[in-house]
């Protein structure tokens, strides 16, 4: 949070000093096509979804080819559920039920290669309420209020929705851990692009409790996406919890959300 404010101040200085920006042409190398797997099991009723897709070149359109014909299972609670491909690249469970405290393992076989991941669903933490604070220029920032359970490491993911739709461009995504906040009553300001949080919309904030590996992945992801900046370290692909060389991640997490109309 303090970094965010420092960052804003930093930019303020620049724009006072005739900063300018323009779109440039850069010629980027084309890397080999990468396989991307994302999957989630949560404590809401299923089915749960796993997607498999491919990377594309920078200059291509944002159409990421789905990968069909994968054989995918998720095991946990003593059962193994084989997922069904209901639309190209999207695979769904049949009977698996996510329970906090349980470990889940994902196996994906595609084109003769195997990819595995495991994730343990943390105990749930309830999001108590949403409040708001006004920033510069009357920007509205939501605050997520919740009690962090003492004595254990907790990792949180926040996802924001305006009128039921996720914010564009990866905005409205953030993560938080209780490394410096263990056991506190936490009032977490979500400093996201305020263009999306404005009067007249219905804002939903979803708070997921995630495990450590998923937190690390999402934390690194947030560092390289959106407003990654000049002062950040050299960007690198986030460390995935999926073995076998795929991009993406697999998360077993709990979900708690609050919805508020903004006037």
């Amino acid at each position: 949070m303090k970094n965010k404010i420092a960052y804003n101040l930093f930019f303020l200085i620049f724009f006072l000093l005739t900063g300018c920006k323009k779109v440039i042409d850069v010629s980027l190398k084309n890397a080999d096509v990468q396989l991307v797997i994302t999957g989630e099991v949560n404590n809401l009723p299923g089915p749960y979804k796993v997607t498999v897709s491919k990377s594309v070149n920078f200059t291509s359109d944002n159409n990421f080819p789905p990968v069909s014909g994968a054989f995918i299972t998720i095991s946990g609670n003593g059962i193994t559920d084989t997922l069904e491909e209901k639309e190209p690249g999207s695979y769904f469970t049949h009977r698996l039920e996510g329970k906090p405290g349980e470990g889940y393992s994902l196996k994906v076989s595609v084109n003769g290669k195997n990819y595995n991941a495991t994730s343990v669903m943390p105990e749930p933490v309830e999001l108590d309420s949403l409040t708001f604070t006004l920033g510069r220029d009357n920007d509205i920032y939501p605050i997520a209020n919740f009690k962090d359970p003492p004595g254990i490491n907790n990792y949180y993911q926040f996802i924001e929705f305006a009128n039921g739709i996720k914010f564009n461009n990866g905005r409205g995504n953030s993560v938080f851990d209780d490394r410096l906040s263990d056991g506190r009553y936490i009032k977490r300001t979500l400093y996201d692009d305020s263009d999306d949080v404005k009067p007249g919309i219905t804002l939903k904030v979803q708070m997921n409790c995630i495990d450590k590996a998923v937190f690390n992945y999402l934390n690194e992801l947030s560092q390289i996406s959106g407003n990654g900046s000049f002062s950040s370290p050299a960007p690198a692909n986030p460390d995935s919890n999926i073995s076998g060389g795929a991009l993406g991640y697999f998360s077993a997490n709990t979900v708690s959300s609050k919805t508020v109309e903004i006037h």
Binding site: L16, I24, F58, Y185, Q223, S231, N237
Partner: protein, 771 residues
Amino acid sequence: MKKGFFLTVALFTVLFSFAQQKYTINGTIRDQKTGETLIGATIVLVGNHTYSVLSNAYGFYSITAPKNDYILLATFSGYENDTLKVSLSKDRTLNLDLKPHPTQLQEVVISSRKNDITQTLPGMQKISMTEIKNVPVLFGEKDILKTIQLLPGIKSAGEGSSGFFVRGGAADQNLILLDEATVYNASHLLGFFSTFNSDAIKDVTIYKGDMPAQYGGRLSSLLDIKMKDGDDKNYKVTGGIGLISSRLNVEGPIVKNKGSFMISARRTYADLFLKLSHDSSVNQSIIYFYDLNAKANYQFNPNNRVYLSGYFGKDVLGYSNQFGIQWGNSTGTIRWNHIFNNKLFSNTSFIYSNYNYNISINQANNKLFILSRIKDLSMKEDLQYFAGSSNKVNFGFNITRHIFTPGNIKTSASSSFNSLILPDKYAFDGAAYVSDEWALNDRLKFNSGIRISMFAMVGPGDFYSYDSSGTIKSTQTYASGKIVKSYLRAEPRFAATYQLNDFSSVKASYSRNVQNLHLLSNSTGSNPTDLWIPSSNNVKPEIADQFSAGYYRNFGNNKYEFSAEVYYKNLQNQIDYKNGAQLVANQLVESQLVFGKGRAYGLELYARKKVGKLNGWISYTLSRTERKIDGVNNNNWYPATQDQTHNLAIVAIYQLNKKWTFSSDFVFNTGNAVTWPSGKYEVNGSTVFYYAERNGYRMPANNRLDISATLEGKKSKKFEGSWTFALYNVYGRENPYFVQFQDNPADPQKTQAVQYSLFRWVPSVTYNFKF
């Protein structure tokens, strides 16, 4: 082995010299007008043979020669030569006062130019305050750190930045000393200004790796900055009023010809302009810095002089009263010069240095205060023995106690954060050295030395060791004062100069430097919250071995000088960070590090004209800087961020007449190595970029021209004033600062690269005065 041989030869030379009847002249060399001691002035005795010596950092010189009649010639850049007849038939003390040259730009200092080819260590460069005054810089605030970036082998850390890289080293591998005290963060306002107020500075010398054995602790350079002593004859006020900052400097005698003081202060007031803005996001912002340099000295008798000097600087950045960050250095030095006899000079220093930052967040239900600090106390003893006509021996020792406060967090009861005190860490840092400057004959000179450095991290505290994944393997508790880990390292240094003829020479050198303090920084720029950590059980001392050689030649009756230097540097135990490394308030911060090595090599060309109405220099560097870090780019060598293949700077200063002086600088450099995407994919509905290799791309090249004009006002006996008008980035080039990749807002099906630039056409005006 070789060194032992040379030292033995040196010793014999000294012994033999007693066979002849020899006498010593010693004294102090000063500015006639102000009494400032002159550092590095040349004193030459011309007789059957020529004997020469440079004055030391306190203006002291000693020269020993056989009984004879001589002409003594004293020269210093910017001063008129002093010539007198000396009949050497007994030991004598001779203090010299040089008269400053009336128009500083037209200096003709042939002998001291000649000395550049014979006397100096390779890779050493001095830059005069006159040059610093005339080189146009951003916002018209003359700046030492930005001016040295125009020298070969020295690169800027970014546009407008006072951070710099020397011969492929990192920003934290520069030792910056202000009157012997280490300055840990040499920048104000996130790097746009340096902490050094040029009004208070007398001398600036940079050593690009081959630093004298007296100094150590950083791998790539020593920037040795000496404050003015103050005028010991007259009271004087100088100052300047600029668009965003003002300066005032007062100096004068404490006791005439015996002691003087100097106080210099500077403050920016950009924040006062911010207040005028109607935009609440601007007018509630707080941005300013100030600094204060103060110095006093007193000569108790001809053999004892005491200096007190201090620096205090602070930056304040904030937004209304909700958020604030402050940081600053403070240093203090007490020095005692003692002349034991006409050949032995001693300086004893007690040094204090402190750098801290604090962050405060003051929101209704969320109050937070963070403090971090590094504090040093040092004692240093340096002795110089002017052994004979051909030898000068430097020896001494120093010891420093470091106290690190990595982070103290205090929070209110309703804050989202816990209070947390990371335990202080303690370390001792010591070194003993001896070095010898030896002139074998008129042509061949050797400078050999060895520095033995010791570093010990001591308790109390818990110390951890980690496995390869960064999880704690074992914890050991140490009592107060118990040594956790210590390192003893030998740092040999050797340089040879061979004078080919009256106007050219070649030099070669080898040196090893060891660094035991490491700056952890998650940003490429200067960030006040970057953290200094000591070598420990997990972090090994960084080591650099540098080989360099050069050719030096003066042309046109020494009006022009030219040099070409090559270097190769090998770096061990370099530090990098794991993906997503958590460096802030982390007791286990050492688990976030990865290690590797580096290498750098290059060619530096430098041509300079110091005489005439038009003067200036051209510097060009062709270089390569690479890193090899565990786990990065499949453990292959890759270009470091600061790897810039070509780097060119041209500085020209033209004095039209007594009223007008024009100056300009032009820079061109290859873009930094950067990590850009080589593809994209989708996670949770958003585009994510795929990175195939670290630093596999290049930023576009930079180029820029800056100009300035100085108009001298009417001079009266009492008052002098001048106006300086400057324009930064004359042709308004949008030099790339960083490039961001994102979805095209107009067409979400596409992605785009957006280049951000900082400064186009920044004009400035400054009024300087003196009375």
